[in-house]
């Protein structure tokens, strides 16, 4: 990760990361409504490609992973494996009520109830499904995090400064109240 006194090439890389984040999509057992909203982001009305946000098929090409759906037991290990393939710096967006807390599938025999019990999540976009502008907002939130991470020289400052990832549904509820 770059420090403020980085060289020209590192500053160029950081500029490119901020200007054109590549996104990969992973459905961990959702109903496909969130995936359709991501497709709506690509369509002419919102057209996120004009901001340089590209949706790529492979996690090895991506900077940001969008996870849709509650995580089934079968998909949990696959989700972890796909997440491990993304090169650093990587950011994760959990989409929808299911990604945040399991949604209507909470407590089901075959669900782990939230994305962040499997991988660390940087942004939640809540809704069932969230609107495309909320998805774009989540991506921009990740880019702001990336900007601050570059300034701090890594992701560790978020743990040490008390601004940690939201870990469970109770904290989400407290944060929204």
């Amino acid at each position: 990760m770059a420090v403020p006194s980085a060289g020209v090439s590192q500053r160029l890389v950081n500029w490119a990361r901020l200007k054109s984040p590549w996104v990969t999509l992973f459905n961990s057992g959702g109903c496909n409504a969130c995936d359709i909203e991501v497709i709506a982001c690509l369509m002419p009305r919102f057209d996120i490609e004009r901001f340089g946000i590209l949706v790529k098929g492979s996690p090895r090409h991506a900077d940001i992973m969008i996870v849709t759906g509650h995580v089934t037991l079968k998909q949990a290990s696959r989700l972890r494996r796909v997440w491990e393939q993304i090169p650093e710096p990587k950011y994760v967006i959990a989409l929808g009520a299911c990604g945040a807390s399991g949604g209507v599938f909470h407590g089901l025999y075959h669900s782990v109830n939230s994305v962040d019990s499997v991988i660390p999540v940087d942004a939640f976009a809540v809704g069932c499904p969230p609107r495309p502008d909320e998805i774009i907002n989540a991506v921009v939130t990740c880019l702001n995090l990336l900007k601050e991470d570059i300034a701090h020289g890594g992701k560790e400052w978020r743990q040490t400064n008390g601004i940690k990832n939201i870990k469970n549904t109770n904290e989400i509820r407290e944060a929204t109240l």
Binding site: V71, T72, L73, K74, A76, S77, R80, Y109, H110, V112, S117, V118, I119, P120
Partner: protein, 159 residues
Amino acid sequence: MIGPITLDFVKEKIQDIGTAEQVRSNRIRITTTPGHIRDAIKSVQELLSCDRLLTISAADNGKTLELIYHLTGPHRMIISLALELPRDAPEAPTTSDILPPSGIYERQIHDLFGILFQGRSDLKKIILNEDWPENEYPLRKDWTPAPDTFYGGIKGEKV
């Protein structure tokens, strides 16, 4: 193609297999036993021209497990062949050789209800994850997840 499928027509054709009743305007339910189900499906295919399997549904009604084969044909009347199985040893003969689409339903029902289909050797997991424990059938009414059992997902530390 045969004429309209009425309750009397069905009763006349399948007298020795089970009892028929009209449960809805387009659905006739035939209650039969596990020993007769293969004959019932064969005769429904031949005599009532029901050559399509819509689905096999299973249910836990508290006392017994219920298995219902829904078949239909060009006349668009649905014939439901229902059988009840005991909870302690639910076994039914396989129908995947006379009704090929039923193979995948049988594997799913075996996953979720634990009904054993005699004559099938490949009843491996299809819906549940590979490391789901044996003899745990989540859609049975009396099933609750055991506290110390690993049902799948991620083993070990969180990231």
